[in-house]
């Protein structure tokens, strides 16, 4: 396919027969994506609900446990994810304006920041392994609050583990997106796929926005 053909493709919306106009087709796709994202909110929601109950029951144990996480690394990870969200938003904007080179770089940047997040989290997990903070496998804490600390770390691995899985899926999706954008598959009339992928990435970001204070910031004062 030559570049003129690619440009024509990117600038012509392909309308399925059940829709009257491109805007209606895109709204339907966005609505469907939000239905999926709602199931994601509830998927992480039960973990947060479990966390809330356990923290209400064991406030001291959760404060002790949270102080053993790496606050600096957690803060940097949050900044990295927030920045990656803005990059993909700018990337989708560039796709809509047919700025394929810019869009490709922005998407690649997003995927790289996602990858950086995963690497940093890997370091965190390794550090916790060396500090014997893995419940059931490698856990050595004693004292009256030890069971609550173990509970906190169990929830910590569930929540951050599933979140990292979502980040990993996002990194793959966005890397593929970057390649396709560089081939001018998307454009001013064809941007539903980049837009919906971005929605997914923003939701993964939102989940982390709540993980950050609940995991890293408890009992830090004093």
């Amino acid at each position: 396919m030559n570049s003129a053909e690619a440009e024509f493709r990117a600038n012509t919306a392909l309308l399925e027969e059940q829709f009257d106009e491109p805007a209606q087709q895109r709204e339907a796709a966005t609505l469907g994506m939000w239905v999926f994202l709602s199931t994601e909110i509830l998927f992480f929601g039960v973990l947060f609900a479990g966390y809330t109950v356990m923290r209400v029951l064991h406030p001291l144990g959760f404060a002790i446990a949270s102080r053993q996480t790496d606050m600096l690394l957690g803060t940097v990870e949050t900044a990295v994810l927030l920045t990656s969200s803005s990059l993909i938003a700018l990337g989708v904007r560039a796709v809509k304006l047919n700025q394929w080179r810019t869009a490709t770089w922005l998407m690649a940047g997003t995927a790289s920041l996602g990858l950086a997040f995963l690497v940093m989290h890997g370091f965190e997990y390794y550090k916790e392994y060396t500090e014997h903070l893995i419940p059931g496998i490698n856990f050595s804490r004693h004292g009256p609050q030890a069971p609550a600390v173990e509970l906190f770390f169990f929830l910590y691995y569930c929540i951050t583990g599933f979140h990292s899985l979502h980040v990993a899926v996002g990194v793959i999706l966005i890397a593929v997106l970057a390649v396709r954008v560089s081939h001018q598959v998307f454009g001013s009339q064809r941007y539903t796929t980049p837009e919906l992928t971005a929605l997914y990435w923003h939701l993964v970001d939102i989940v982390w926005i709540f993980v950050y204070p609940l995991i890293y910031l408890v009992g830090r004062a004093g």
């Binding site: 399925e16 027969e17 606050m71 830090r220 004062a221």
Partner: protein, 115 residues
């Protein structure tokens, strides 16, 4: 009859054009700046001895960040009302889940065994 028929009834996909809605770059940049400021605020406030207010601050900041991400990055300000409703429903359901669960755990009293 209030049924809209497609212009082309022969079936299959058609090609049409419209102009995409584009947000100015500066909107994305000030949103990022606001998000990073809020992040610094939550990290900083967590180090102050505020008691129960620490948790309240942290959750309030997270909710504000979420609203910013949804409004600007996720284009909820341009979305149809139905889309906005559906995007809010997941969070409302979660609030009900946590609210009802807590209403149980927070109101339990320990009843000592009579023997």
């Amino acid at each position: 009859m209030d049924i809209r028929l497609s212009a082309d009834l022969s079936g299959g996909a058609r090609r049409m054009k419209d102009s995409p809605q584009v947000t100015p770059v500066r909107n994305y940049l000030w949103t990022l700046a606001a998000l990073l400021t809020l992040l610094a605020l939550s990290a900083g406030s967590a180090l102050l001895k505020l008691g129960a207010l620490n948790s309240v601050m942290n959750i309030a900041i997270s909710v504000t960040k979420t609203l910013l991400v949804m409004a600007i990055f996720m284009h909820e300000t341009h979305a149809r009302r139905l889309t906005r409703l559906v995007s809010a429903v997941g969070f409302v359901w979660l609030a009900i889940l946590i609210g009802l669960t807590l209403s149980d755990f927070l109101t339990r009293t320990k009843i000592p065994a009579p023997w």
